[in-house]
């Protein structure tokens, strides 16, 4: 079992392969410990708070488990989408802050394709795939703009993706949603019109809201893993990921078309992150509201970092963040603000940033253990 896990998940031949899983786990644990200290300082009970948090997170069976579980997976699918958006770019050596923008671009595209006339009348099995393709194209193009500027003009992607986030936000909220895409006044709806029935994601776990978004995103994650590790495209972007940020030029010298790959990587990253926005519109809101409470894009960065930019890691981290967010409202019963899980998330990322130190500690521990075993054996021989 251990061997199978090792081969599938962590790459063969890595001597300390378990380290890649242990470091995020320790970071999460430390974050919860620090979180508990915070709660204690403010005079509340960490035990009660965590009990409430996890009780309603959907991770563990309990009262209303079914609906918590569904809600958790519903939000997890969005976190996984934006997390992948960051992770894909990161594999190619790009620091993509644009998932937030890709997310809302995906959302608005989904809303439009969901209600607009020529599409709205189509049968579901045509309409829904059409929307998904359209959303991915829209998000992909939004991502590719930053990729293009990086590849051809040398403008750093951090700057362009942040700027594109704002451009997307104002295009949508200040123009589209209140202008050309506004619902007719007589319907009494603010924001865009509601999407047609054929555009809604099918539910899979009635009576809860859980829909096929989680299945879609798991399939996409698998495809991303396949792309990374099994295709020449993935091979090329990994060569870039290992070299670009250090200013090394080996991939370029080997004849890899770094510029084109940069644009394509950003396209894929944008397309996948945009799926998250589509899930939101097609499965939760059913329209694009006038003011959209986002944040999924930025949480995606945390998800990718906790998941170490590996597809499987992103799934697990996405589920963790989804669970924390699902349980968040209940911590108010322990008189703790519902934003508390963000603190946990933040600390986890902070500890992940310290991963070299954590790795060093673990190695030291391992070495000491080995040494003591050796000396015991040596002592026995004498």
């Amino acid at each position: 079992m251990k061997d199978v896990l090792k081969r599938i998940v962590f790459g063969k031949r890595e001597k300390y392969w378990w380290m890649n899983a242990l470091v995020p786990l320790i970071s999460i644990l430390l974050a919860f410990i620090v979180g508990a200290i915070f709660i204690k300082i403010t005079g509340r009970s960490p035990v009660v708070a965590y009990k409430l948090l996890f009780g309603a997170s959907g991770l563990f069976p309990g009262p209303y488990w079914k609906s918590h579980f569904a809600e958790m997976l519903l939000s997890s699918s969005m976190y996984i989408a934006t997390g992948l958006g960051f992770a894909i770019a990161a594999k190619g050596g790009l620091f993509n802050i644009g998932a937030e923008g890709h997310f809302i671009v995906g959302g608005i595209a989904a809303a439009y394709l969901g209600y607009a006339k020529p599409f709205a009348g189509l049968p579901k099995f045509i309409h829904l795939p059409l929307i998904i393709v359209g959303v991915m194209l829209a998000g992909g193009i939004w991502g590719a703009i930053a990729g293009y500027l990086k590849a051809k003009r040398g403008i750093h992607e951090v700057i362009t993706t942040i700027m594109l986030n704002w451009i997307a936000l104002y295009l949508i909220e200040a123009w589209l949603v209140t202008g050309p895409m506004k619902a007719a006044v007589e319907t009494g709806v603010s924001g865009t019109p509601y999407i047609s029935l054929s555009a809604k994601l099918p539910k899979i776990f009635p009576p809860t809201r859980l829909n096929i978004s989680i299945i879609i995103i798991l399939a996409v994650t698998f495809l991303v893993w396949y792309l990374f590790y099994k295709t020449t495209f993935g091979y090329e972007i990994r060569t870039m990921g290992h070299t670009l940020i250090f200013g090394m030029e080996a991939p370029k010298a080997a004849g890899i078309n770094v510029e084109r790959r940069t644009i394509q990587t950003m396209f894929i990253a944008g397309a996948v992150a945009a799926l998250g926005g589509a899930f939101m519109i097609l499965g939760v809101l059913f329209q694009y509201p006038p003011i959209f409470e986002g944040g999924y894009g930025f949480d995606g960065i945390a998800v990718a970092l906790i998941g170490q930019n590996e597809p499987l890691g992103v799934i697990l981290a996405g589920i963790l963040i989804g669970a924390l967010r699902t349980g968040a409202t209940t911590v108010q019963l322990a008189h703790i603000p519902k934003t508390f899980p963000s603190i946990i998330e933040g600390f986890t990322v902070a500890f992940i940033a310290l991963q070299m130190l954590i790795r060093y500690w673990i190695m030291k521990f391992v070495m000491r253990k080995k040494k003591s075993i050796q000396s015991e054996m040596g002592g026995g021989a004498k």
Binding site: T231, Y235, H242, M248, A250, A253, I256
Partner: protein, 507 residues
């Protein structure tokens, strides 16, 4: 008095025994050289002494006292200093700031730059190591940067100075300066440990020489009682013929033709001022010259990293308007970069992944964009064997290979690609004799296969031994064209320094 003594040092890395019970004893005030091939364990041993690695077992004595060195900080405390192969300097800081870094004189809590300046001046006078204390390190030539490194460790009171391949980055003149410095330091009673694989240098400077091979101490010899040939035999473990085998050139048609090529350097200065030459199939054209006279610009233009300002490059009869690494590689160019880490390999990648870089899109490594790992493994196993990359494990990360083996991996990668033209930029840089010999044989093999080879090298012996034609590059211009049998190393040397020019026959 013994300055440094190591007893039974063993260092076990996963899968490699880097040091196998090594015993050395180094007297105070001597220059003690340690030679060996790349990966023989020289650097490992020094890193143990400097506290960068902890030995698996063994003891270290410094000035007859048993010590336990856990960190470089401990080593500095014991008056051990190390000049690393890659300098540890902050380019934007001045010489003074660099020298005092980590141990700054201060006025209260404020850094006392004036005092530091005078301290550095004093230090530089005391050891006769001339530096300008106020100059920025970025503006200094490599030789002077090294001097800054030496001053830095002298200021910390080092009595034992370790030099890890100090001449690898130096020009011949700078090397001579360094040797003068070393002799001076020796006279002052300092103990010097000199790591190298250049036997000529070792014979010139060392008092005693220890030879390491595959982690084992082969023996310690006194300079007076040995010869370069004997040392070479100890280093490699067999007789080495450093003579380069000569192969008759069967020259074919022109493969690469460069006309009036003018290229700007990265800083925007014109580094290559209109050069013209041809490379024909089956010949090796050597480009001699001191580093920084246009070699980098020539390479960058040929591989498509820089767009030339002027001039044309014709490949296989077709003039190339725009060269990118992607399209010129496709046309059949192989490239051995001078900097393995920057341009040759992806360090966190395994051998099997590195070896297909550039040909990963071709059958059988991939089909329709999907990699075939069975074929890749097969290919990698075969190539590691053929090019004698050690360890043979295709899953070793390039980062964990020694320099010589990294170079062999690059050769394996480049030479297994289909190519008509090979651009070899300092292909033996930092290699030991064994690996050098290997590279030479491979280059000759390529030539016999009818590949056009452009060899750029700083080593005159290499240029003289391998080339069929020699071009001398000085200050961005070709100042001479000759053949090895019509010239001498001395004459080439003069041309390289711009002291002699030769009319070229117009092509």
């Amino acid at each position: 008095m013994k300055a440094l003594e190591v007893k039974g040092i063993v260092k076990q890395f996963p899968g490699v025994l880097a040091n196998d019970s090594i015993n050395l004893s180094i007297n105070k005030g001597e220059i003690y050289a340690i030679v060996g091939e790349n990966g023989a364990g020289k650097s490992t041993l020094m890193k143990i002494i400097y506290g960068l690695y902890t030995p698996t077992s063994g003891e270290i004595f410094v000035f007859d006292k048993k010590v336990d060195i856990k960190t470089p900080h401990d080593a500095i405390g014991l008056k051990i200093g190390m000049v690393h192969q890659e300098f540890m300097l902050v380019a934007r800081f001045t010489v003074t700031q660099n020298i005092v870094l980590g141990d700054e004189p201060s006025k209260g809590i404020v850094f006392d730059y004036k005092k530091a300046l005078s301290e550095v001046k004093e230090l530089s006078e005391k050891f006769v190591l001339k530096v300008d204390p106020a100059e920025k390190v970025a503006n200094l030539p490599v030789g002077i940067q090294q001097r800054v490194e030496i001053l830095k460790i002298l200021r910390r009171g080092a009595e034992i100075l370790i030099f890890d391949e100090p001449t690898a980055v130096l020009t011949p003149e700078e090397t001579e300066d360094l040797f003068k410095t070393l002799m001076k330091l020796k006279k002052d009673g300092k103990t010097i440990i000199f790591i190298s694989h250049k036997l000529k240098e070792v014979m010139a400077i060392a008092d005693r020489i220890a030879v390491l091979r595959r982690g084992k101490l082969q023996g310690v010899v006194e300079k007076g009682k040995t010869s370069e040939v004997e040392l070479a035999r100890m280093v490699v473990g067999r007789d080495v013929v450093l003579k380069i085998p000569k192969a008759e050139a069967k020259v074919g048609g022109t493969v690469v033709s460069v006309r009036d090529l003018m290229v700007k350097s990265k800083r925007g200065i014109v580094g290559l001022k209109g050069v013209s030459f041809d490379v024909r199939a089956g010949e090796i054209v050597g480009i001699a010259g001191v580093e920084g006279n246009g070699q980098a610009e020539l390479v960058n233009a040929l591989i498509g990293f820089t767009r030339p300002v002027n001039g044309t490059i014709t490949f296989d009869g077709k003039e190339l308007r725009v060269i990118t690494p992607f399209n010129i590689r496709k046309k059949g160019m192989a490239y051995i970069p001078k900097d393995r880490k920057m341009r040759g390999l992806v360090l966190p990648f395994r051998s099997r992944e590195n070896i297909i870089m550039g040909q990963h899109t071709l059958y059988p490594f991939s089909k329709n964009g999907v990699l075939n790992s069975i074929e890749i493994d097969k290919f990698a196993t075969k190539k590691l064997e053929e090019f004698d990359v050690r360890p043979r494990d295709i899953h070793t990360k390039a980062r964990n290979l020694s320099g010589g083996n990294q170079q062999k991996l690059i050769l394996a990668k480049e030479m297994s690609m289909e190519h008509k033209f090979l651009l070899a930029s300092q292909p033996t840089r930092g290699l030991d004799i064994g690996a050098m010999e290997f590279v030479y044989h491979k280059l000759i093999e390529e030539k016999e296969k009818g590949v056009a080879i452009l060899l750029i090298s700083l080593e005159l012996s290499e240029i003289m031994g391998l080339s069929d034609r020699i071009l001398v590059l000085y200050n961005g211009e070709i100042v001479g064209e000759t053949t090895p049998d019509k010239t001498t190393e001395e004459e080439l040397g003069l041309m390289m320094l711009g002291l002699k020019r030769q009319k070229r026959v117009a092509q």
